[in-house]
Subunit: 412 residues, 2 copies
Amino acid sequence: MNLFYVLLVLLVVSRAFGEIAERFSQPALVGELIAGITLGAVVAEYPGIFPDLVGLSNNDVYVSITDLGMFFLMLFAGVEMQPHKAFKHSTGALVVAIGGMIIPLGLGVALGWFFLPDSNLRTAQCLFIGTALAITAVPATVRILMDLKQLDTAVGQTIVSAAVFDDILSLLLLAWLTGLIAAGEPPGIVEFAILCGKIALFFGITGVVGLFLFPWGGRFMHHLKAQELEISALLVGAFAFAVLAEMLGLHFIVGAFVAGFYFGRKTIDAESYDQVRNAISAMTFGFLAPIFFASIGQNLSLSALAGAPMFVGILVVVAFFGKVFGAGGAARIFGFSMRDSAAIGVGMSPRGAVELVIAGIALKAGLFDVTATDSPVVNNLFSAVVIMAVVTTVVSPVILQRFFSRVRPSPD
Amino acid sequence: MNLFYVLLVLLVVSRAFGEIAERFSQPALVGELIAGITLGAVVAEYPGIFPDLVGLSNNDVYVSITDLGMFFLMLFAGVEMQPHKAFKHSTGALVVAIGGMIIPLGLGVALGWFFLPDSNLRTAQCLFIGTALAITAVPATVRILMDLKQLDTAVGQTIVSAAVFDDILSLLLLAWLTGLIAAGEPPGIVEFAILCGKIALFFGITGVVGLFLFPWGGRFMHHLKAQELEISALLVGAFAFAVLAEMLGLHFIVGAFVAGFYFGRKTIDAESYDQVRNAISAMTFGFLAPIFFASIGQNLSLSALAGAPMFVGILVVVAFFGKVFGAGGAARIFGFSMRDSAAIGVGMSPRGAVELVIAGIALKAGLFDVTATDSPVVNNLFSAVVIMAVVTTVVSPVILQRFFSRVRPSPD
């Protein structure tokens, strides 16, 4: 890969579209996604003119750079979260997460049952659609809330915490699902308990490290001489948590988020904290995040629209309203106002980042390897889910922006 | 590649060794290089324990990350350089560059003539050794001067400018050399003129863009809405210059350096400038540069020490004193004091970053493909040059630190 050329094109196009989106009073993220979609379409049409941009999504270097983008975004989101506020909103977030998980999951399974032909993989495929609808893309959600300056509000903190819960629950589902695809039958209760144990272990270890080792490390660093040590220390913590998360069956973004979460104004002195925060913000929003979001748009292939248009249409609608009613309804029951509940429902609907990871895992596990079928829905299932992921991620901030522009932000 | 695991190990080890180096009053860079050497040795000894760390230097993702490290280091060096000071020292720098180029080049060719057996590649191999001795590793030099807080002094600015000149001259030599290897005869005067023309074109285009478009872009950005735009703009400029440099036959680090060079306190407002500078410093010295320098150490293979110990010893000695007498002598003639001249000579001697690139290009061009020889020197030439590069890079800051610790820094 021609590294600097690719970075140049992606950064220029994504930031230009982001600026245009802001001119139309939309979050920059929407522009960056559309930048990726446009770039993908142009390169697919004229591959000869842009040989260096063909097949980027399969390029190891490119994937690593977009992974770093996801990592920095989640790290920054964690740094912006304040533990005492997040814990305060954790009950509400858990209710929202469960509502926002069960309704879309049920709807997805039902949708699959209705559209998919009978085969030995049908159950797994239905569960895949359910899982695909049940997740929330935390990095996309975080970025949307930041663009709208709502990350720090009660609604924002609830959405992010609930989205993290949802992702953990989805990863449990996914592990169960890949077991089902691999063995032909769902994993037993013991395997499932082990999985839950691993997740508990992750939060146990990171909790102890975050609450005790981080502050000790912050004080210890005063005795060291090397420059730019604070940001190195935070990155070391975040890399370590990311590695631990992957070892214990979670996605690395959970590790990055948790590391940022435990890094606070009290971990190191206030001045160093602000410097680290500003540096990560600059690297994330000035460099890696626009490229990451453009790369999500690049994955969009409209082939499913031709093969199974009705299924795609219904999938997108169910994806959106499943979260609005599931998460939003749960928020309303928990006691949020009608408007806040609707905002939470819409805010939980983007699937853009994690979805592609999950669809990729299912693809590798062989979920779409159905040779004896001519069903256009099965043949286009992967592409349909990608369309759903990108569309929900574009639509959600556009609608959310209308909610928040009418009310003054209410800091918690 | 297990991205986060590799980044975790490299960052922890390099920063820990860097801190230890500072405890022994040595520049952090020395520790980072030794971290890489140690890591390389440990992994070579116990590959089974660290499977993810084996063969990193051939991994595309790892190479791209270290390339980004080199890029950010040169960008930051450019930002730290001040055009009016650099131009003020440019005559001295040119004299130092020429002295520091011709003497080592001549010594290298002579050394090759003495040690290498006759073959159709002998002339090219001799010139390769000459080129290898003639270059100066700008990124290493910059880092050393920063660690010693000398980048801003007359001596520092002269060293960096001279090192950049040397690299450009070496790239000319290298282009000539690869032409010689490929065609069996040196490129004609026309090809050489084209090459010089391309380099002139690079500096012409970047000069016009840097002097006129950068300040205009800085003013234009006030009308834009997107956040973290200044750092994006600088990165876009640097990526564009890097791509242009590679298109015109220069190394991308020259592009990154020149982009930083034209980016000044007057390009954007002072506050934004400081923020951008701090963010790049944090990313460079807190993340990418330690990994980059450790990766240089990882390349060290001591096999040449067993195969051709005398040649390796002489090569290292000639490499070091060639620059001390060549560049230092030129500085003395130009009018620097004895101590400053010695410092300039020592400061020009690290070969650690660019050398590996040049040796890699020569390797790919087939310079070491001599099948009909049993000469241990030829068989170990690549490894010997790598040893020389790493040793000069470790030794130079250790000696330089002694010069500067005895005198108070004299800001220009």
